[in-house]
């Protein structure tokens, strides 16, 4: 599994960078500091975020037994996959590591995908207030792409 950057670097064994490749690499490196800062901020937030998310989910959705503390922890830890995709500027990493897996797993388990998406939307609100503006702006597109993908997963036939 190669990111676009790996592919470009590998191709340079055979030829020089094309103008398009060079422009994309320069744009990537120009935004690299903010991507690195995002990683630091997420790491700092992680210990308290799971507890806060669990509290919020219990308060807003008291009738949903799905929202356990371990699940809140798993969702917060999944931000690492989002962060990695942002760091590499390649959402394919997130799709293969996380979204595609959920698309197969949730219907098979009889779990309503929109309930997982709802939990992510609560997490989104928490992140928006806890990350600095530039870090959130770097993070938001990949995060929103993931939550939108969760909306397209068919509901399980078992769901009541």
């Amino acid at each position: 599994m190669n990111t676009w950057l790996t592919d470009i670097i590998r191709r340079t064994n055979e030829r020089a960078f094309s103008e398009t490749d060079l422009a994309r690499i320069m744009a990537y490196y120009a935004r690299l500091p903010i991507r690195l800062k995002l990683g630091e901020e997420l790491e700092k937030q992680e210990p308290t975020l799971a507890r806060k998310l669990h509290e919020e989910l219990a308060r807003r959705f008291p009738d949903r037994p799905l929202y356990t503390r371990p699940l809140a922890q798993d969702l917060v830890e999944s931000l690492r996959h989002v962060n990695l995709a942002v760091l590499a500027d390649d959402t394919k990493l997130l799709k293969l590591r996380w979204t595609d897996h959920l698309a197969r797993l949730l219907p098979a388990l009889g779990v309503e995908p929109l309930e997982v998406r709802d939990a992510y939307l609560v997490l989104r609100e928490l992140l928006e207030t806890r990350l600095t503006g530039s870090a959130w702006e770097a993070f938001r597109p990949a995060f929103d792409e993931m939550t939108e993908a969760l909306s397209t997963i068919p509901a399980p036939t078992l769901a009541v």
Binding site: M1, T3, D63, R64, P65, L66, T68, P70, L71, D74, L75, S78, H81, L84, A88, L93, L96, R97, W98, D100, H101, L102, R104, L105, A108, L109, G110, V111, E112, E115, V116, L158, A159, V160
Partner: protein, 222 residues
Amino acid sequence: MTPSVEPPLRLKGNAYARPGYFTTDVAKGVTRTPSGQRVCTLPSEFLLGFRDALIYECGKAYRKVMKAAGKKWGTQFAARFDKELNALYQTRVRELPAALVHTCLADSFSANGYGRLEIDMALCDFGVLVVDLHDSMMPSLVREADRPVDLLAAGLLGAVFSHLSGETLDAVQTECPALGADRSRFIIARSDAITAAEEFIDATEAMPSHDAILDRVRQAVA
């Protein structure tokens, strides 16, 4: 509302899709997985050579030998899969929901290059599983045959599902790309039922249909 999931839902993603799941130390000539398991590439030339040598040495018995090799492999594979999943979810594999284990098993098959696995649980209550394996290696090498050729995969699947279920199960291949199908299809059930199905296949001149073999298996498990 989603019904309560017991045990609680855990989401860890596709651990096999992490970047650099297989890492090769070029200086040492060693490839390992994150758990330290050493793996190596067995190219198509090896698999074909292995099959040809078995046919030469064993004659018609080569099918049993290939399947037995698949079972041995599957036993080791299942133990490694169990260990990896246990480490990831901090829960014994038999206590995890079957759908989760099957999704992770399919992820593992894909990452290892064994093909895309689909598990049909519709007949599970009758003690029968139907498994499809898309783009499996051996049928892509043996283009034409009068019997299914995915014997290693049949042995592998039988051993893996034996490990996961805690029962002695076996698998028989009922459809194969070498016979014109678009994927390999297997029936997994109790060993004696699969033996009965294999005897039925051996006694039939043309390869019986999947449904005919499934009927035999269901009669045997009833």
